[in-house]
């Protein structure tokens, strides 16, 4: 069967990424990178949702 998905699979290493954030706890903007999470020995939970101001 033709490969249609080139995305990550469970069990694979996640490549380093870095994203801009709004840090509600500080009321300020920030940045999170997987590299830093790994250096700090932290677990990461990524929680995607469709859009701000929506409902569930």
């Amino acid at each position: 069967m033709e490969e249609v998905c080139c995305c990550l699979k469970v069990g694979q290493d996640v490549p380093d990424f870095s994203i801009e954030t709004f840090e509600a706890s500080k009321g300020d903007f920030g940045e999170i990178s997987l590299e830093t999470q790994k250096a700090d020995r932290k677990w990461t939970i990524l929680f995607f949702y469709p859009a701000d101001f929506t409902f569930v």
Binding site: C5, C7, L8, K9, V10, G11, Q12, D13, V14, P15, D16, F17, I19, E20, T21, F22, E23, A24, S25, F29, G30, I32, L34, Q37, K38, R41, K42, W43, T44, I45, L46, F47, F48, Y49, P50, A51, D52, F53, V56
Partner: protein, 123 residues
């Protein structure tokens, strides 16, 4: 994490009372690149599907769950998976059965002896 900008995250968190206790960082994936990497980017709408991913401190993807737009996620199941990951990271010879909920619940130790005897081991 959504494809909104950090500015919209700020505005939403300040406006919506349901979010007043939010303490986690709200990430912006305005390019959709991270959503694409995790296979949750919807090219037709430019939005991300409801995907949840747990990554270990070593950077390995351990769990993945994706729901369509119209079904919210259950935080109890996310916490169950997260606690199980913590337990399994410390007890690398164990496995957590589907009914495992928290520390103290029964785990299994895979071995030749256990084959065909899971029912007895969980009793």
């Amino acid at each position: 994490m959504s494809t909104d900008t950090k500015f919209v995250h700020l505005a939403w968190q300040r406006e919506e009372k349901m979010l007043e206790n939010v303490r986690y960082p709200m990430g912006s994936d305005a390019t959709g690149n991270l959503s694409r990497l995790f296979g949750v980017y919807d090219e037709e709408t430019g939005l991300a599907l409801r995907g949840t991913f747990i990554i270990s401190p070593e950077g390995k993807l351990l769990n993945s769950e994706v729901n369509f737009y119209n079904l919210g996620r259950n935080i109890d199941e996310l916490m169950r998976k997260f606690k199980a990951n913590l337990h399994l990271a410390k007890n690398t010879n164990k496995v957590c059965p589907s009914k495992w909920k928290d520390e103290g619940d029964k785990t299994l130790t895979p071995s030749a002896k256990l084959v065909g005897k899971v029912y007895e081991a969980l009793k």
